[in-house]
């Protein structure tokens, strides 16, 4: 297979706060191929948005990319290497900020955020913002840019695009603003669009419209997408391949059908089981016990062991290695869980936590998201 369009290797992004170092993204690997729609899924706090921002080098203080390589079409967007004296430094190959701005952002990779109101400037007309963006990035004249802008608005399904061109962002509905941002992202015909929860703030019927629009446009332009979301329904609907994140790490990666029907990681499985289904009635939900611990002080060994129903003593000690567990000839299916390694999981004793059902504290039976403390594994007073 040819080189992937985007390759993220061992990416680490940390936030240096007063309370300590938050390891928001901690050694993440994934790829996006040409024309592919790849999902990056996880609960809030999993680090998926930070990972997306790191690719574009949009992480703001006090956050910093501290390690890893991001290669896009042969260019090193991020390339942190260790110097002979042991410090982590940007390599010579890594693009400068100016090169990022002029060559990559907008032109080659576009990003669509969750909140369309914050991404559009409220004091400028929608059409003018779109036109300016096209003018700058494609080097066309103002009138040409305007024609392209109106065409793009029509393309993404804005009614009366000529008239709406002169409207301000507040005159658009949420769904329409998101369409404008998609138009903006597509206007320069980028090869990759990073979509950070673009439909989360929208109603379900509007979300449906946007998802349809995206798959339609993807067919036509053959754009690759990295789709960041927490919604497994959206993932099932549009993604080709999925990466599941938990507490700064990718714990499972598979083709979408395998992820749902040949689930390997206990977290993915628990996530799927905890969801109410729109298409059938579920007797009672089987929630994941506890809350995600803080990335400032992640649990030892496997980070999911505090909430994992299958956790054993060995899970506390060994950090699982992220590796491909697919059968020979099958589609790649990577997972990080010591069940699939030979470090003694089979002979290890089950951990006594509420999640494994072995913990028999009176109060904890009633308890839901408080179980961390019940199980005595919480890092501090505040388990938010």
């Amino acid at each position: 297979m040819s080189e992937p369009l985007l390759k993220v290797e061992n990416l680490k992004t940390q936030f240096f706060t007063e309370e300590g170092t938050v390891r928001a993204v901690d050694g993440v690997n994934f790829e996006v191929n040409e024309g592919e729609l790849v999902g990056l899924v996880g609960e809030s706090g999993a680090g998926k948005s930070v990972a997306a921002q790191s690719i574009m080098r949009l992480v703001e203080e006090p956050g910093r990319i501290v390690d890893g390589t991001v290669t896009f079409d042969g260019k090193k967007l991020v390339d942190i290497v260790e110097t002979p004296d042991g410090r982590m430094e940007e390599s010579d190959e890594m693009l400068s900020n100016r090169e990022m701005r002029e060559q990559v952002r907008g032109r080659e990779i576009a990003i669509v955020f969750q909140d369309p109101m914050e991404s559009l400037n409220p004091v400028f007309k929608v059409g003018a913002q779109l036109r300016e963006f096209i003018e700058l990035n494609r080097g066309v004249s103002e009138s040409e840019a305007k024609t392209i802008a109106v065409d793009m608005l029509r393309e993404v399904g804005i009614p009366e695009p000529e008239a709406r061109y002169d409207d301000y962002p507040h005159e658009f509905s949420g769904g329409m603003r998101q369409r404008v941002l998609i138009a903006m992202a597509l206007a320069c015909e980028p090869r990759l669009i990073i979509a950070d929860e673009p439909t989360t703030a929208l109603d379900v019927t509007v979300e449906g419209q946007i998802l349809d629009l995206v798959s339609d446009l993807q067919d036509r332009y053959d754009t690759a997408f990295l789709w960041v979301t927490h919604d497994m329904g959206v993932v099932a609907e549009i993604c080709d391949r999925v990466n599941v994140m938990y507490l700064g790490e990718v714990v499972e990666e598979a083709e979408v059908d395998d992820l749902f029907h040949d689930t390997k990681h206990p977290y993915t499985e628990a996530l799927l089981r905890s969801m109410p289904r729109p298409d059938r009635s579920v007797g009672s939900l089987d929630p994941i016990k506890g809350v995600m611990p803080e990335a400032i002080n992640p649990p030892s060994g496997c980070r999911f062991h505090t909430r994992c129903p299958e956790a054993r003593e060995a899970c506390k000690e060994f950090h699982p290695e992220y590796h491909d567990v697919s059968d020979a000839g099958g589609a790649p299916h990577s997972v990080s869980c010591i069940k699939y390694e030979s470090v003694g999981y089979e002979h290890s004793d089950p951990l006594e936590t509420e999640a494994t059902g072995a913990f028999a504290g009176g109060l904890a039976d009633m308890r839901g998201d408080d179980s961390q403390e019940a199980a005595g594994v919480s890092g501090g007073e505040v388990d938010e």
Partner: protein, 434 residues
């Protein structure tokens, strides 16, 4: 069978609640004026018709789900029921008392039995109060459980799945899911019969959401609570509700038992809503039909059925007798012209695009041909006016408010659908999976 008066479903009629019915909402209406200042008197702006003529009953011990998209008026409906805002018209009977008419101490007294939980667990808790006093607050307000409030608060914290030792903590020391549990404990503190839950789990992650939903169901069983559960997430609604009411633009469009509603929706809006949810299974089959356009403004809602401007099953006016495909083509064309979704450089192209099998015959054809001419001449507005007045405005959907009881397919509960397709003289609609 058909009661076109618009009084809606399942009203017990006399305005009294019987033993099974804990709450009866009858013709409830809430209009907001657009400005409160002195100038509003001078300019007389039309009101925002947030909730219009909504009627339904809630049975004792059930969970009634109320679902709809943002802006459809579901939260306003909830607030009006609890008299947090005063209704413009209509009545809300709670165990025999009309809440809409109560005032002062009588209302206060009744409110003890009706509690509410809000969406944002952060902003609904006072950050400067400790959790214990927060839970005790409603007891104090109603003068209940004097001397045993702290004990009760601790007990309730335990009931909702928190550690009673957290009594002295502040809300910020809890996670989102835990804060929602504090809200639950506070609501339960005065031992209410009825709790309105306004998007209680929308702000929570899916795994936490499941924990809170399970706790809510346990509490319902233990205390015999009745929930009016508002959400936009159909999966959550399906999971928790016994019956479901669907709202669109201030009105109820359908109400039925959960299984019946999800498996046999009888209103085109419900169908569209159900079809548009992404199912968390890549092997799930079934095509998604996506609704066109945006929700119209509640300031000037469409006449008749409020969904008709987007309805994929708009009924053709009596004067025409086009076959289904031709009517569908005309309907699409009229809407496309109204929304200007295409470019009309060439009349022939537009004609082939919308009417590949030719334009209809008779008067309908004449109107379509004129519109094609006008569009080609760039007279969009004239074309749109012409098409809308001929085809959309003459439909029964634009002229009568629908309100029908339909025969349920599953179970024997009542099934209300506000859609003229259920008129007896109209052919039965095709099944939902058609």
């Amino acid at each position: 069978m058909s009661e076109a008066s618009g009084t809606g479903p399942l009203g017990t009629g006399a305005g009294e609640t019987d033993d099974d019915t804990i709450l009866s909402v009858q013709g409830l209406t809430k209009h907001f004026s657009q400005s409160d200042g002195m100038l509003s008197a001078l300019f007389d702006e039309p009101p925002v018709r947030a909730v219009e003529d909504v009627s339904f009953d809630v049975k004792r011990g059930e969970t009634l789900g109320l679902v709809g998209e943002s802006g459809c008026g579901k939260s306003t409906l909830a607030r009006t029921i609890l008299r947090l805002v005063d209704p413009t018209d209509g009545a809300v009977y709670f165990e025999g008392d009309n809440l809409a008419e109560l005032s002062g101490s009588d209302l206060r007294e009744r409110r003890r039995d009706l509690q509410m939980i809000f969406q944002d667990p952060q902003s609904s808790l006072d950050p400067r109060m400790k959790v214990g006093p927060i839970v005790e607050e409603p007891m104090k307000a109603h003068g209940l459980y004097k001397g045993e409030r702290e004990e009760r608060a601790r007990e309730l914290l335990e009931k909702v799945g928190l550690d009673p030792h957290h009594y002295n903590r502040y809300p910020h020391q809890f996670s989102g899911g835990q804060r929602q549990r504090i809200n639950l404990a506070r609501a339960l503190s005065v031992n209410p019969d009825f709790i309105v839950c306004d998007e209680p789990v929308s702000a929570l992650d899916v795994s936490i959401q499941a924990q809170v939903l399970n706790t809510m169901q346990e509490l319902q069983d233990e205390f015999g609570l009745t929930y009016l559960f508002i959400a936009h997430d159909l999966s959550v609604i399906r999971h928790i509700s016994d019956r479901v009411a669907v709202m669109y633009l201030g009105q109820l469009v359908e109400l039925a038992e959960t299984e019946e509603l999800f498996d046999h929706p009888e209103h085109p809006y419900t169908e569209a809503l159900l079809d548009s949810i992404p199912v968390p299974d890549p092997r799930a089959t079934g095509t998604r039909s996506v609704l066109e356009g945006d929700v119209p403004s509640p300031i000037e809602p469409p006449s008749g059925c409020r969904f008709r401007t987007r309805c994929p099953k708009l009924i053709q006016p009596d004067e025409f007798s086009m076959d289904a495909e031709t009517w569908a083509a005309v309907r699409e064309f009229a809407r496309a012209v109204d929304r200007r979704t295409f470019e009309a450089d060439d009349r022939g192209d537009v004609r082939t695009k919308f009417f590949p099998d030719g334009t209809p015959s008779g008067r309908a054809g004449g109107v379509v041909d004129d519109a094609l001419d006008q569009v080609a001449d760039d007279e969009w507005e004239d074309a749109a006016d012409q098409l809308i007045s001929t085809f959309a405005d003459a439909s029964i959907c634009a002229n009568e408010e629908p309100s029908y009881a339909v025969e349920p397919t599953i179970g024997d509960g009542e099934h209300f659908a506000a859609c003229h397709l259920h008129r007896e003289d109209v052919e039965a609609p095709a099944p939902a999976d058609d």
